[in-house]
């Protein structure tokens, strides 16, 4: 079956010489660029205290941080999907006034420092915030809770999903959707059976980017949610804290964070057809 299903992939392993228009000096610069990313990773791995590695990452505070990070990043990725898919669909397909401005504003968290995002969230949902004040009256207190962590992560990660999915939607075009409609499919059927399956690679890579961004979130979380062990202190916050107290623990946890990120990214890009697969530095740690 695999031989039949992927005839093109078979040839890829033994590709014959092909003309390419990339000058040699570009390869040299590219190698430099790759080293710039990879060398610091090796530098950190070299610093890992392997003898103490297991005890360091299984301490109570470390495990709390790891579990909290995985839980919140998963929750915020789910939230990104629930909110980001409709947002991307509307941006890519609908036509309305102010659409361009809306897109620019939605992508703002990509360029605004996360700490500013955290402050924005605090002054909106915090105890004295725009909406937080009313919520407080109802007995709901968001700031400095696990919910705040998820909100901070969603705030910074949502644009990644929207951007990735909107690009896929625009590339996929509307031709198949129009055909499906003429075949009698209602708009919701078209979305479920045609649009989403067609942009699945973009959706997956968007979700992975969102998860990775959530996992690494620091500034907005610290500002809006604080750093309370087991409640809001995620792995990056724990690493930052340990950096002062116990550098060995900080390095071990950093290594753990990279390993988790690598596993997630490589799992998501496992499909052989995805061109992004080559981006994963295999065996990098």
């Amino acid at each position: 079956m695999p031989a039949l299903a992927h005839p093109k992939l078979q040839g890829r392993t033994q590709q014959p010489w092909q003309f390419q228009a990339v000058p040699r000096w570009v390869f040299a610069l590219a190698a430099l660029g790759a080293l710039f990313i990879l060398l610091p990773l090796f530098g950190m791995v070299a610093k890992v205290n392997w003898a103490q590695f297991i005890p360091l990452i299984t301490s109570e505070s470390s495990l709390d941080a790891l579990v909290l990070s995985l839980k919140t990043a998963t929750a915020s990725t789910a939230l990104c999907l629930i909110l980001g898919v409709p947002l991307a669909l509307v941006l890519a397909r609908a036509h309305f006034g102010g659409q361009r401005i809306l897109r620019a504003l939605i992508l703002l968290p990509l360029v605004v420092p996360p700490v500013v995002g955290g402050l924005a969230l605090l002054y909106t949902f915090g105890r004295e915030g725009l909406i937080g004040r009313s919520l407080n009256v109802l007995g709901i207190d968001i700031a400095f809770s696990t919910t705040a962590v998820i909100m901070a992560q969603t705030f910074v990660a949502l644009p990644f999903l929207v951007l990735s999915l909107e690009g896929s939607l625009r590339t996929a075009g509307q031709k198949y959707e129009a055909v499906a409609a003429t075949l009698g499919a209602r708009p919701s059927t078209v979305l479920r059976r045609i649009t989403l399956p067609l942009v699945l690679p973009g959706l997956v890579s968007g979700a992975v980017l969102a998860f990775a961004r959530s996992l690494g979130e620091f500034g907005a979380t610290l500002t809006f949610a604080g750093s309370l062990q087991g409640v809001t202190r995620t792995l990056p916050l724990e690493i930052y804290l340990q950096r002062e107290i116990d550098p060995d623990a900080a390095v071990a946890l950093s290594f753990l964070l990279i390993a988790v990120a690598l596993v997630v990214v490589s799992l998501a890009y496992r499909t052989p057809r995805s061109p992004l697969r080559t981006l994963v530095p295999r065996g990098a740690p």
Partner: protein, 363 residues
């Protein structure tokens, strides 16, 4: 099902009014940018006309004015087939064809049954398990046709369905279309005179967003009134009764040719030609391009070719060749040949064309 359409699309400068009768096939022809595709899109519901109204089988598709109404594409019951097959790449062939019935509420079993039935109809049942990427262009287009028909559309819109196919696959799809379009209302956009002759009852010619000519296919092509139809009508068309692989024409005797849809006497054509004489007389068209015609002063001896005794009525320079007109027929020959024969209007000559160059269309 009768289609009534009157639509104005200001941005595209299109303003058309026409109707399609029950079981009638219309060929919509015209130069690029004439607005043919816009008309199809308005009917599908993919663009909204600025004014006008349309109804299909008594149901309103859209209506402008005080009682404005708009039926979304998925409620129109209008199937379409474009130049690209546009099979859903993530579904296999069977799932593609079953998509329409499934979307219209059929359960899985019924939808699959319908899909099998239509795949068999287009001779593609053996492809059911394949993904669209594993199909050739002709196979994909046949599957796309099955997919469009599986929804039992009240009107079928075909937008240059054979334009992307190579010369070897187009004839098969053409004869397939002829079979499935019988008894259906359809509009086919085409640049190919042969498609129009073989598939359509009437031709509508559009130029710059307006209908400039409308009428029975053979009439429009033999007596063109619009510039576009005239440019198409370079083709020689003779009408008559089918006899085996010949047509007994009304005014030019017996014309031998090959049946449309057959490739060099394929089995299907043979079958048809053997059955035909026994049945009621079949009307047919014989068509051949002027470039296939040679001009002689004396009748060629012992040749299996078609030979027409004609009088030259006009000589028209056309690019690098000269079109010799003789009544309804035309021949394209080189200026040197004209000089050789020292042709002048009024000359009695013989137009000779090989049987292999003549295509016969059972009407």
């Amino acid at each position: 099902m009768t289609l009534e359409l009157s639509a104005v699309m200001a941005a595209r400068d299109v303003d058309v009014t026409f109707s399609v009768g029950p079981a009638e096939t219309i060929a919509l022809m015209g130069p690029n940018g004439a607005g043919k595709s816009s008309v199809l899109q308005a009917l599908s519901g993919l663009v909204k006309p600025d004014a006008g109204h349309a109804s299909l089988g008594g149901r309103s598709l859209f209506r402008s004015g005080a009682d404005a109404a708009w039926l979304p594409p998925h409620e129109r019951g209008i199937g379409s087939l474009a130049q690209e097959p546009l099979l859903f790449p993530h579904l296999n062939v069977l799932e593609n064809v079953a998509f329409g019935p499934r979307s219209r509420g059929a359960n899985k079993t019924a939808a699959a049954q319908k899909a099998w039935q239509w795949l068999a109809e287009v001779d593609a049942a053996d492809l059911a398990g394949r993904k669209p990427a594993q199909l050739s262009g002709g196979q994909a287009q046949r599957v796309a046709l099955a997919r469009a028909l599986a929804t039992d559309p009240q009107l079928l819109l075909l937008d240059e369905p054979m334009a992307a196919l190579d010369v070897n696959t187009a004839p098969f799809l053409r004869s397939l279309l002829k079979r499935v379009l019988a008894g259906r209302s359809a509009i086919i956009v085409t640049h190919d005179v042969l498609d129009a002759l073989m598939l359509a009852d009437r031709i509508i010619v559009m130029e710059q967003g307006r209908i400039v000519e409308m009428g029975p296919a053979a009439t429009v092509l033999s007596h063109p009134r619009s510039a576009f139809a005239a440019s198409l009508a370079g083709l020689n068309v003779l009408t008559g009764i089918l006899h085996g692989s010949s047509v007994m024409t009304d005014d030019a005797g017996l014309v031998a040719g090959r049946l449309a849809g057959s490739m060099g006497g394929a089995s299907q054509a043979g079958g048809m030609s053997e059955e035909s004489p026994g049945r009621d007389a079949t009307n047919a068209l014989a068509a051949f391009p002027p470039s296939a015609v040679s001009v002689f002063l004396d009748p060629p001896q012992g040749s299996p070719r078609n030979c027409f005794a004609v009088h030259v009525t006009a000589l028209e320079p056309q690019g690098d060749h000269i079109r010799v007109r003789a009544g309804r027929l035309a021949a394209d020959i080189s200026p040197a040949a004209v000089a050789d024969l020292s042709l002048v209007p009024g000359d009695a000559v013989f137009f000779v064309v090989k049987a292999a160059e003549v295509v016969l269309y059972p009407a």
